[in-house]
């Protein structure tokens, strides 16, 4: 036991994080009912642009007179979905390719891991920027695929390493001598062992995915307007950061809150699931 922090407190933090995340997910699901205005409604482009937070607009309005609260709520849908589905894509790709590389070994492994090294050698922001340029602009679905497609390298490496060691474990060899086909082994012996590290990596990765979405929005290639995502809201609010900070402050807090919650949850999971793995 390395962590000397009292255990109950840790569970408090975990519970709080789960609460925050659940709240955000709920807000995302219920956005159309919770939000006082539509996310793209321009209330009065001359009279109500860039209004500070008030009783009428709790979080203020942006430069084109849209209600920031409504956009933050609706943005939760886009941001969480981009994070979740992007992570899912990365997970499927990374696990798949890591499995193939780790199981096959030899030339296939060298080739796939070369690909992984190549992918890791270019900063991800630039990679996303370049692909957006190549495709001439992407919809939200495309962005999700792209974020996933550039986010699997680390997962592939993780899975490949695990598979390499699992492959030589006696119970896997035993299954082979029983005549188990590869899919059987993957399903019954590899995936159950990979589930824990993958879950931890995915939770952490989802937070990173949301930060990346914000980063590429900042460079102008994120979720397309007028749809609201926390990332493009921060980017939109950048020009008025000094005069109307609320436009980017609140989506920024939403990102920080959810990434923080995801990190805490991932930590908690790792702590909790690890002992059983080593037992």
């Amino acid at each position: 036991m390395s962590a000397a922090a009292p255990a109950p407190r840790v569970r408090h933090a975990d519970r709080a994080a789960l609460g925050v995340l659940a709240g955000l997910v709920l807000a995302a699901l219920l956005a159309p009912w919770l939000a006082p205005h539509g996310p793209t409604d321009q209330l009065d482009i001359v009279g109500l642009a860039s209004q500070p937070p008030s009783a009428r607009f709790w979080l203020g309005t942006d430069a084109v007179s849209r209600d920031v609260l409504s956009r933050v709520l609706h943005g939760a849908r886009v941001s969480l979905a981009v994070g979740a589905f992007g992570t899912l894509v990365a997970l499927v790709l990374g696990a798949g390719i890591g499995l193939v590389a780790g199981w096959s070994g030899g030339r296939t492994d060298a080739l796939l891991m070369g690909l992984v090294d190549t992918g890791l050698a270019v900063p991800r922001v630039l990679l996303v920027l370049a692909v957006v340029a190549v495709t001439g602009g992407l919809g939200t679905g495309g962005l999700v695929l792209l974020l996933g497609a550039t986010g699997w390298f680390g997962i592939a490496r993780l899975v490949r390493g695990q598979v390499r060691s699992l492959r030589t474990r006696a119970f896997v060899e035993a299954a082979r001598t029983m005549g188990a086909p590869v899919p059987w082994i993957v399903r019954h012996h590899l995936l159950p062992h990979l589930a824990t590290p993958l879950l931890v990596a995915a939770t952490l990765g989802m937070g990173q995915m949301m930060l990346l979405e914000a980063g590429v929005s900042f460079l102008g290639v994120g979720v397309r307007p007028p749809a609201a995502s926390w990332g493009n809201m921060i980017a939109d609010g950048r020009a008025t950061l000094a005069t109307a900070p609320w436009v980017s402050l609140f989506p920024g807090l939403a990102i920080v809150g959810s990434v923080l919650a995801l990190t805490v949850i991932s930590e908690g999971m790792r702590r909790r699931l690890d002992p059983r793995e080593t037992a």
Partner: protein
């Protein structure tokens, strides 16, 4: 490091301190400035230049800098007419005379010198024309030189332009587009190499400022040419600082790390600058106008008419349905007008008596659409024969202002029953798709010359090379031809206004805004005047009163 030392110290220590200070500031002042011949202007600029050699320059920033290094033969006075030669002031040319309507002879100012000491000669002018006319360089303004048949040096200070035919703006074309280049330095360099030739990064010019240094991605420094033949510039030094984008550039000015910024763009930025107290706000007529261009042809098959936008009534209705004045108010505060035609504020003479802007009238717009068979269907989107009134707006991802306009337009057009999607693409993609006709509508911005003749034709005439929407309007074409051949300013003005009225009746685009530019310049600068076609054109007359000089102004002096 630049703080002045406290006074009244023991003499020996003061001497020592002075020595230390002298060492700290480099060396002894080589060129002491006196009175109001001091001052350093630091300009915050978004982006970074590529070359300072005029004929290979593409960007506005590159042009701003190199304009201080290279002169024209004659310069257009602010707001003057481009017709004839009465609006022009001598620069490199001391005088000129028309031998006949097709032959123009300039006499160069014998005092004009290159910064390496060589004289500026007629050979330089002839050499410059050859370079600008060479398609290998692709110089801006090259198409405008098509009617100049030859440029010949008669003697060292006399040079003759021969035109293929007489025309009203011949003098403008002969002088405005070309910055004279040093034949003795560039003559031996093949033109194919000019684009990336080191000369473009350490140019030798003939203008009021000489090149000092260029720190890649960071700054360019110019220094006053104390022997400049048209009078020594007041400001001793010009420095351009390059920022990653406009917000960063603005921050440099707000934080007093730079003295001037060309455009503040948005009302909040203007408010911020006003709020600081050290910045003066300088409005001046902008040279740009922006519009939502309609593609009249289908984006896929380039010959077929566009199923929605080919219909002039639909286009008229869309124009009527947008409250453009409010849009301009939202984005620019009170600092932009909705232009009645494709015209920037720079063409002040055209605004007087211009046709009225079609009013914001959703009732009339709805009536036009109803009459055209576009009825409101499910979801509030109008349909005609099963086809929704839907199209995309292409907008460059790098322009914050145009992106804001796209979002505003989308919401406004939704109210009339048009389903608009926004396509954000980066600039190279946007330009390629415009040129290929692969778009439905696009928000474009156009930088205008002082005369409509250079840009209006190519943009909107049938077959014009920038007529990306393949719009055709014979009535308009006729009036443009008339305007170009008008020999009187008044006749030209009337013809242009008739041309714009013809455009308004059958709109090829929704004119969106013609902004007034607002520069922010530190208050210590006096005699500041800005020109719409080059905001720094008069910078050599700006000055800092001696009592207002700052440490930065005095640094190194």
């Amino acid at each position: 490091m630049l703080r002045s030392l406290p006074p009244r110290r023991p003499a020996r220590r003061a001497t020592l301190a002075a020595l230390v200070l002298a060492a700290a500031l480099g060396c002894a002042p080589a060129d002491p400035c006196a009175g109001d011949r001091c001052g350093t202007l630091v300009i915050a600029a978004p982006g970074s230049p590529a070359s300072l050699l005029p004929p290979v320059i593409q960007g506005a920033l590159d042009r701003d800098i190199s304009d201080q290094l290279f002169l024209r033969l004659a310069d257009l006075r602010a707001g003057a007419s481009t017709i004839g030669d009465s609006g022009f002031a001598p620069q490199l040319a001391q005088s000129w005379r028309w031998e006949d309507p097709r032959t123009l002879t300039f006499t160069l100012d014998p005092r004009a010198r290159w910064h390496d000491g060589a004289r500026v000669t007629a050979l330089d002018v002839a050499f410059t024309f050859k370079a600008y006319a060479d398609s290998a360089l692709g110089a801006n303004g090259r198409p405008a030189l098509a009617r100049i048949a030859s440029v010949t040096a008669k003697d060292s200070v006399t040079v003759t332009f021969a035109f293929t035919a007489p025309y009203p703006e011949a003098f403008f074309d002969a002088t405005y587009h070309m910055r004279i280049l040093p034949a003795h330095l560039l003559g031996a360099v093949p033109r194919a190499e000019w684009r990336s030739h080191p000369f473009g990064r350490s140019p030798v010019g003939n203008g009021p400022y000489r090149f000092v240094k260029w720190d890649a991605e960071q700054a360019v420094t110019l220094e006053a040419d104390t022997s400049f033949f048209l009078g020594r510039p007041h400001l001793a030094r010009l420095v351009w600082r390059f920022a990653a984008d406009l917000p960063s550039a603005l921050q440099q000015v707000l934080a007093k790390e730079a003295d001037a910024i060309e455009v503040l763009v948005s009302p909040p930025n203007v408010a911020l600058a006003e709020h600081t107290g050290h910045l003066a706000i300088h409005p001046y007529p902008g040279g740009t106008y922006a519009f939502l261009r309609f593609n009249t042809k289908a984006a896929v098959s380039r010959a077929a008419p566009h199923p929605v936008l080919a219909d002039a009534d639909v286009r008229r209705a869309l124009v009527l349905a947008v409250d453009r004045a409010s849009l301009a108010q939202n984005v620019f505060g009170g600092r932009a007008k909705v232009p009645p035609g494709p015209m920037p504020l720079l063409w002040g003479w055209l605004w007087a008596g211009a046709p009225p802007v079609p009013p914001f009238d959703t009732t009339q717009a709805a009536r036009l659409l109803d009459a055209g068979g576009w009825t409101v269907g499910p979801g509030g989107v109008r349909r005609k024969g099963g086809r929704p009134l839907a199209f995309s707006v292409m907008v460059p991802s790098t322009s914050a202002g145009r992106k804001q306009y796209a979002v505003l337009l989308q919401e406004q057009l939704k109210r009339i029953g048009a389903d608009v999607t926004i396509e954000e693409v980066d600039l190279p993609t946007m330009m390629q798709r415009l040129q290929a006709g692969r778009f439905e509508t696009a928000i474009e911005a156009m930088q205008g010359d002082p005369t409509p003749a250079t840009t209006v034709g190519p943009l909107w005439e049938s077959g014009g090379e920038m007529n990306f929407g393949r719009y055709a309007n014979p009535a308009f074409d006729t009036q443009v031809a008339a305007a170009r051949s008008a020999t009187e300013a008044a006749a030209a003005q009337a013809a242009w206004q008739r041309a714009f009225a013809a455009l308004a009746a059958d709109p090829p685009a929704m004119m969106l805004f013609a902004p007034e530019n607002v520069a922010a310049i530190d208050r210590r600068f006096a005699d500041v005047t800005l020109r719409g076609d080059g905001w720094l054109a008069h910078v050599r007359q700006w000055r800092v009163p001696p009592e207002q000089l700052t440490e930065r102004d005095k640094a190194g002096r």
